[in-house]
């Protein structure tokens, strides 16, 4: 096969452009990898500070995993100064939001009552469904509740939680996901406390 000069020029030009672009991207990745990880950690830290009861430990550092592979759940425990566990937080996903999945960080007291919930990622309609982020009154309705204390449905479906004007699907998905989180806690209660019991308080983790 023979290439004429023009074709070779074209191949060479694209090759050089691609190499330079790849190099630039590689360098940028090296520079930004640390700050991106730090920013993500900081975002999670501030979200955990909102959903966990007041805690003295590094909840991210004490994270443990329940379940395996695809069903694995990362649980962030909160501990008081004595190292005694005083709360759990983990993220649940509501797959049935109005516009894709909604990710919710749920924070529980050890007795299974909710301390607070926060939505960490969603694509719901601004002004309608995004009340799950902005409507503090609606979010406060979850505090102190547990699996038995409420009928975990929106009012339209005969439950105890308000829907929003013009948006029922979004709160319905969130309520369902939080109920799922509470059920998860009920079935995995022993596992939740087990990994913590194995450790001596104050001991550095490897």
């Amino acid at each position: 096969m023979k290439f004429d000069k023009e074709q070779l020029q074209m191949v060479l030009a694209l090759f050089v452009v691609a190499v330079i672009a790849a190099t630039l991207l590689g360098l940028t990745d090296i520079v930004t990898r640390g700050p991106i990880a730090a920013a993500e950690k900081e975002a999670l830290r501030s979200a955990l500070a909102q959903v966990l009861p007041k805690h003295a430990n590094d909840a991210q550092g004490d994270m443990f995993v329940i379940g395996k592979e695809k069903r694995a759940v990362s649980v962030y425990p909160g501990k008081d100064k004595a190292g005694k566990i005083n709360g759990f937080a983990w993220e649940v996903t509501a797959p049935d939001g109005y516009a894709g999945s909604i990710r919710i960080l749920v924070g529980l007291y050890p007795d299974g009552n909710i301390h607070a919930i926060r939505v960490t990622a969603h694509k719901e309609t601004p002004g309608l469904g995004d009340g799950i982020v902005n409507d503090s009154g609606w979010l406060a309705a979850f505090a102190g509740q547990n699996l038995e204390s409420r009928n975990w449905k929106v009012k339209k479906d005969g439950g105890d939680f308000d829907q929003f004007t013009g948006a029922t699907i979004t709160p319905r998905a969130v309520v369902k996901a939080v109920k799922g989180a509470l059920a998860f806690f009920a079935t995995n209660r022993e596992l939740m406390f087990a990994p913590v019991a194995e450790e001596n308080p104050g001991e550095e983790k490897p």
Partner: protein, 217 residues
Amino acid sequence: MTKSEVFYDGFWHNNAIFAQLLGMCPLLGVTTSAGNGFWMGAATVLVLLGSNLVVSLVRGVIPKNVRIPAYITIIAAFVTIVGMAMNAWMHEMYLVLGLFIPLIVVNCAILGRAEAFASKNSVSDSLVDALAVGSGFTFALVLLGGVRELFGQGEFFGVSVFGDSYPDMLMFILPPGAFIALGFILAGVNLINRKMKARASRQAAAPAQMEVVEVQS
């Protein structure tokens, strides 16, 4: 063209939004508030500066037949770099703009500047052009975002304007509001352009008369 002509042309006369109606996807998608519009515009300015700079540097080197894939590669590289930098140092804004940052790649206003301007002009002219088109684009985004935020939520750049009792006009936050607001803004821009044109032709037709008017005022 002088530098100021290049700037005027890119910022106003051939404004990517007002005159060419290019880049509608980020325009309508992210302009629910003035702040979102501003940062989306800032990201676009950075990409434009990078792509115009490189494209004007390699003009004449890239064979004509493969210039479009070469330009797209250059633009995509800069978009990815800007996206990574925003993720690292402006994490919250990155989460808000999210999907629209990678979509800058397909903003035809940017490829348009590479093809129509940077590939034919000097490096310095291309940088001025990038600044002009970019800031014109940002201006349009902030204007539309500001209008939508003001009527939709009674706020401007997150600061309450109309007070808490303002009944939020949800429609302006939703997609139809973007089209309606854009329509009114375009009407306003056309009005201004017509006035400017009328004044220019008056000035050209009767310069003596204009002088009299100026003396009187």
